[in-house]
């Protein structure tokens, strides 16, 4: 099956592109996708440790199974809103 992975912010800078189209085995999970990405982009693994996986624009989990056409994004801790850290 084919999934789309999009990258934002720090992750985009590490991967060097906005979006990848990947061919995965049936039964692949978010965790196995992350494993594959970490092999191809070694610096990505560490960044994704603290990130929240999303599938089709909803927060998901590492164990979630992926399906044909899914859009996956790893969301590092967000810092939107006001600037009062």
């Amino acid at each position: 099956m084919r999934v789309t992975v999009k990258f934002f912010a720090a992750l985009r800078e590490v991967v060097g592109s906005r979006e990848l189209q990947l061919q995965l085995d049936d039964g692949s999970t978010v965790a196995s996708l992350l494993e594959r990405l970490s092999r191809e982009y070694p610096r990505l693994g560490a960044l994704c440790q603290a990130a929240a996986p999303t599938v089709n624009q909803e927060y998901s989990s590492l164990g979630a199974e992926l399906h044909e056409g899914d859009e996956v994004v790893f969301i590092p801790p967000v810092s939107g809103g006001c600037d009062d850290l």
Partner: protein
Amino acid sequence: MICRITRDKIDTPALLEAVKHPEAGAVLAFEGIARNNSLGRRVLYLVYDAYPEMAEKKLRQIGEEIAAKWGITRLAMVHRIGRLEISEASLVIALASAHRADGFAACRYALERIKAILPVWKKEVWENGEEWIEGKDFAPFDQEAALKR
């Protein structure tokens, strides 16, 4: 309800006018502002990035939560992305409510939810470097689950 991710300067007065209603006695606006300093470092400017489709979806979800909790539907939430100069607004929340207590509670709730779940990131640019900042209030799972209970 206005839920928007934009690259343009946010027009707070226009949002205040948009939510105003002759039956609502209280109008509130919150602006999150790009500060000139962060942890002792001088900030030159900020760059915000977002996952825009999901961010607008999450803003709508937050709006629905507020409508369900307080019956407030005269609500605008706009987050700006791209390069922001110091003192410019990154986020504006505006709402009108019949009662002031509800208005304050709902405005604060919108802000906390945005900080917890909105996929928007900030990069600080200083004189000698830059960094994507990790928000300390990020909590997409616990809070989403807790709120659905």
